[in-house]
Amino acid sequence: MQNLLKSLDYSVLQQCMHCGMCLPVCPTYAETKEERHGPRGRISLMRAIADGELEVTRAFGDEMYYCLGCLACTSACPAGVNYAELFETARAEVERRHVIKSTQRDFWRWSVVKVLFTRPRLLRLAGRGLWLWRVTGMQALTRALRLTYLLPRRLRELEPQAPRVGAKFSHQLIKPVETPSKKVARTFLSVPPSQTAVPFRRVAVLTGCVQDLAFPEINRATVDVLLANNCEVHTPPVQPCCGSLHAHNGDLESARTLARRLIDMIPPESFDAIISNAGGCGSHLRHYDHLLRDDPAYAARAVEWSRKLRDISEYLVEIDFRKPEARAVTQTVTYHESCHLCHGQKVSAQPRAVLRAIPGVELHECPEATWCCGSAGIYNITQPVTAGRLQDRKMANLRRAHAGIITTANPGCHLQIQNGLRAEKDTITEVAHPVVLLARAYAAERK
């Protein structure tokens, strides 16, 4: 097989005219001030490989894994360089060449990416295990007995960061099909039609892997706000992973398999919209058209799929969602933008619009809202030092907003910020998805 970077349409590489406008937004360039650690440098290396001037080396592989894949460079690039495609292709080539070898790394990739995240039931089983571990006090016990020393070092460092798995998963909280109650429909028929999402719509909700394990209540809230806006909501109970983790880590084949499975499960023809509530997943899900463009059986459906895929906040704004009625409990809220929601999906104003629509919410902007928090897929596992520094910077900026609730719309960021708060021994500040606050406001109306 040809080098993947060589088989790439050369114009994608050529698009970069090395103006450097992307440098000030790149977190890894900011760390070192060395070109290789910035977008322009990385693209020049990819081009050198495509031109046959450089081999796919270990150093190149390391560089591709030092990149956060945060896509801040794509928002900053006036030339419209498709860095996301370059990056995924480069990582896929690195994987294909096996230039980065390390048993620990292989263990992680194999266990996390390949096994767990392609088998939703197994993932839930593991999640259930984690949950049991926590609630039965096993976590405390193993820690007390220092059993964690038996774990590989990386795993041990991570253990305190492991998501607090919810007691229930999405399918236990959400029925496969839920219809807006007559009462709901009536309540908002009394509101002037220009402000409401009255027409009946049929939508599908994607529950996500991490979201499903760690934050099933966000999925519930997503369904609630859709119901409150007269949508019939379909949520298949056992959903495969969307493949974002795989694509992001160079395993495009698994990503394609998973995409096909998801399309079969949620036929895009049957819905008005397909809703994602996780920035990272959504960013990948939107590009199924591209991912499956060479698959004759799926290409057309994938196009339909991508056309209908929406982030929940984006969709709410698009259908002109109903604003909850005033019942003011003042809450100071700030918003951290998930990279893949703002840079990957260009959804930035909508979550803020959702928050502003909630009576009593006071939105305080935090500085550098779009600067990566260091979560970036499994970056905090693969690059703990840089991830830690980014987390510190993010926490400091969030503090500057003086808010009681930090909102974000991606489970990775959510966990990263929660862990940041925990490290600061902050037990008061809440982390929440914007739709959770919206769902609470709708719920308060009924009381």
């Binding site: 005219m17 450097g20 406008m21 440098l23 001030k33 440098g41 080396t57």
Partner: protein
């Protein structure tokens, strides 16, 4: 005992982690912002002060043959100035990036040469002061690079260019001596003005390590206008008339149809896609004066047939329009694989003629050329959209460039208004300078850098 290699000696000066030699590290330093020029350096070093640079230069000079040294800021240059000579040592200043002092009593700011221009602007702004030069690349470029290129910007019309704000600098010469030129005195006529010699020297005479800058009080008010035209000539006539009416706005920028489309595609600033040309005009100063000036400008624009004149509602909208303008060059890269930006400048009375001439060149050579620029300064950026892999087309590009520069010189203009000569323009320089001045230029270089150590092959051979 092993004789130390150049690399190991350098590592001793700057520390092992501040020298890069692997392919993966040096390939990204083989180019700058200029299209289609690429050459591999031997190594990159990141010094942390003038002393280290002095030692680096002495070491490079002591090699047989001497190893050429190319200074680099952020590599946003558009004339190939920091593209290395094959096998050169690149001295990159991006890690020397502190703002050292803000003197509010004397209205000066001292910064290391690698400080990013935007950070200097921000530091001044926080103190209620103003650093006017604002090249389109200001979020990325370094102040050292700005001084070395004498960079202009969007406010050049009223406030001048980088040169007008440099009060002093620390510079390391090719022999390793460290000089301080200039001071905080507003008036100083002791000896030759050596400071000016280094402004615009493109890294060929010395390595600038610190810069002392003049600041101004922040203007109290600003108003941004966007005037839209159905004809290019009408826009040019507006510019002439504004200047002739003795109004000097701070910004008077021009974008043609192609540029408008690309910029809008990126910036979504609400630019009119059906316009042939737009002028972006900014007035600043006292609130009353700004209001008056803006009204006059609007009237002149309408008189010359502007189809609409929009006023930015607030500073956010004004900033959005400025950002849109700043992205013009890079946004044009959306159209074709290779984007070659030119920098011809003419007396302002010749603007309309020059724009028409460029259009003619595009047609004659069957090339795609977009034009934008600092109209108020007479500085045009005809931008050739091409593909470096198409040899035939590249020959036509060559011919077109030659015609544009010949014409610019014929009407009393210059081959570069702000980007410098570097590699890209050196073949056009003799025509502009004439024999005696060209020789003087070379003699100065020879006097300061007899071994030709610093950035050889730039400006002239």
């Amino acid at each position: 005992m092993n004789t130390p290699t150049l690399e190991s000696s350098l590592a001793e000066i700057v520390g092992a982690k501040n020298i890069l030699t692997e392919s993966e590290d040096i390939i990204p330093y083989s180019f700058d912002g200029t299209a289609a020029i690429k050459r591999l350096p031997r190594a990159i070093v990141f010094p942390s002060d003038a002393q280290q640079i002095s030692e680096i230069l002495k070491l490079a000079r002591s090699q047989t043959p001497p190893v050429p040294v190319v200074t680099r800021g952020s590599g946003t240059g558009l004339s190939g100035g920091s593209v290395p000579v094959e096998g050169a040592l690149v001295v990159c200043l991006t890690k020397m990036n502190r703002v050292l002092e803000l003197d509010t009593a004397n209205l000066t700011l001292l910064a290391e040469a690698g400080a990013v221009t935007q950070e200097i602007y921000d530091a001044a702004d926080k103190a209620g002061l103003f650093y006017p030069p604002d090249p389109g690349s200001m979020r990325v470029s370094t102040i050292g690079g700005n001084v070395a290129e004498n960079a202009g910007g969007l406010r050049g019309l009223k406030y001048g260019v980088t040169r007008n704000y440099v009060m002093g600098m620390e510079v390391v010469l090719a022999d390793g001596s460290v000089c301080w030129l200039g001071n905080k005195c507003v008036k100083d006529v002791a000896g030759y003005n050596l400071r000016d010699l280094f402004i615009g020297s493109e890294g060929t005479l010395g390595i600038i390590t610190k810069v002392l800058l003049k600041l101004l009080p922040k203007p109290a008010a600003r108003q941004t206008l966007l005037a839209t035209y159905a004809q290019m000539d009408a826009a040019a006539a507006t510019v002439s008339d504004i200047i002739a009416s003795k109004i000097i706005p701070c910004t008077l920028e021009f974008l043609d149809r192609k540029t408008i489309r690309c910029v809008e595609d990126f910036a979504h600033a609400g630019l009119p896609l059906d316009a042939e040309a737009v002028l972006l005009i900014e007035s600043d100063g006292h609130a009353a004066a700004v209001a008056d000036e803006a009204a006059q400008i609007e009237e002149i624009a309408r008189k010359h047939g502007a189809t609409s004149v929009r006023r930015a509602r607030d500073s956010a909208e004004a900033a959005q329009l400025a950002t849109a303008r700043r992205s013009a060059f890079s946004a044009l890269a959306r159209l074709r694989p290779t984007t070659i930006l030119e920098d011809a400048t003419v007396p302002r009375s010749e603007l309309a003629h020059m724009v028409r001439f460029v259009e003619g060149v595009a047609t004659r050579h069957a090339l795609d050329i977009a034009t934008f620029g600092h109209f108020g300064d007479g500085n045009l950026h005809p931008t050739i959209l091409t593909d470096e892999r198409n040899t035939d087309e590249m020959h036509r590009v060559e011919a077109a460039m030659r015609e544009i520069f010949d014409e610019a010189l014929r009407v009393g203009g210059t081959i570069t208004g702000e980007h410098g000569v570097g590699l890209a323009k050196k073949k056009f320089l003799p025509a502009q300078l004439g024999d005696a001045s060209y020789t003087l230029l070379k003699n100065i270089k020879r006097a300061l850098d007899p071994d030709g150590l610093l950035n050889p092959g730039k400006i002239f051979d």
